[in-house]
Symmetry: C2
């Protein structure tokens, strides 16, 4: 059992809350039972180490079983060690060190089904928003999420937490400039729908019959004009009451669920 | 100009971040230009005092104009005074003291249109969630939001902030026990739809043709069984991918937008 919260190993894990360390090592941290369970279930070969307290191991036998089945390194740690490793206030007794493995954009695009629905985020800066949109994209059955290089690091602890495991459920591509993303999607015959309050088309009238990508911008100032102009259609979620707008995650979820409904209706 | 951050007036305003003080005085705080603008625009007779820095007054002439048109007390304050008054880290130079005025439940129900859509929250504890759901209900054109007595105080600073002004856009009733809410809605002929992951009916197949209320529960553990059983139908938002669930605000927004779409289709 690891009991020394000041050991080099603990410091190395804790350092993964820093972006520079994540970039250099290619590693990041999944904190708490839900995130660790999904990492171990969906990407066991990308989980070098799981750290768990005795109490959490007893409370979550499914994590221990999955980790053992996957041949992962499962380390028992004291509560003090676990707390020292984490960014979260209440990691609930278990964390996993994960390797970030993402497909190249062209590989991810090549693997899309013919009726693809893609979610593109550009300039999204708030980790909670990014994670919640990824969760919504997963729930809506989207095939791919692409984050431009101007967006938050999806491996940051807050994104991981707010995605509630969805980070391991669907392919995610990051770090590509937005013009490259839009060109690559268009070259694959995927229509580009900008989600923007200024849209001339209202969501229920958007053409969702063909493969398409929702392009979503910054939570405060929306899409840059040049990105909006580069899209095939600008679509707005209708506001029925007096609210000025919806937040990013709500707008994204409504758009992606409209895509799911259109796909269901066709199948 | 008020310049003493330690004055009794400043302390009295600051104290409104405490629930006990809000209950006793019937007052609460709107922080930041967006919340203050909507309060002053939609409920000027419920805004005893507006406090603004010289800089914010210059940046937001529409707030000053609306406050003056409504005959409100507009006080210029130093940045130090404004900061001392606030719960928010960045109140952006303007706060308003507001009086909480809500209709009684039977009055609110009596004022509903024949094709009413109502949003009921019970046991919702996170202020950010409550405010975001209220914003979503506003955007979806819901006619009324009712929060049970077991829910968060909607006048808390975080709810006010996350509702982004929607608190002043539609009637909100609070503090009523959930059985009383459900009985009163039913007596008005309003169908009760429990939004719950266990639902037998999937959202696109729910009967939204008649007046109805969405009943939503706690963000972590959902609806209590007795509340679910008291509803006419239990409806789940379909999960198309591998996500375990959606968060409360996303589920609420999808349900309420489905109601709006059904209403639009009928009109």
């Amino acid at each position: 059992m690891l009991t020394n919260p000041r050991s080099d190993r603990v410091k190395a894990v804790r350092a993964l809350s820093r972006r520079s360390v994540r970039s250099r090592t290619g590693l990041f941290l999944a904190e708490g039972p839900q995130a660790v369970r999904e990492a171990v279930r969906f990407a066991p070969d990308q989980v070098p180490d799981v750290y768990v307290t005795a109490e959490a191991a007893e409370r979550h036998p499914e994590i221990v079983a999955a980790a053992e089945a996957g041949g992962l390194f499962l380390h028992e740690v004291s509560p003090e060690v676990l707390e020292a490793m984490c960014d979260a206030d209440h990691p609930q007794g278990v964390v996993a060190v994960c390797r970030w493995a993402e497909p190249a954009l062209d590989v991810a695009l090549g693997a899309l089904p013919p009726d693809a629905v893609v979610c593109v985020l550009t300039n999204v800066r708030d980790p909670g928003n990014a994670g919640t949109v990824i969760r919504g994209a997963d729930a809506a059955g989207a095939d791919l999420v692409v984050l431009s290089d101007s967006s938050v690091d999806v491996r940051s602890p807050k994104v991981v937490r707010s995605s509630v495991g969805s980070l391991w459920h669907l392919p995610i591509v990051t770090g590509v400039p937005i013009p490259v993303i839009l060109d690559a999607l268009r070259a694959r015959g995927i229509r580009l729908l900008a989600a923007d309050g200024s849209g001339a088309t209202v969501l229920p009238e958007a053409d969702l019959a063909r493969p398409h990508a929702w392009v979503l911008g910054n939570e405060a100032w929306g899409l840059e004009p040049e990105v909006r102009d580069a899209c095939d259609e600008v679509v707005r979620v209708p506001i029925h009451g007096r609210a000025e707008s919806l937040n990013l995650a709500m707008a994204a979820t409504l758009c992606l669920y409209a895509s799911a409904a259109a796909r269901d209706a066709r199948r």
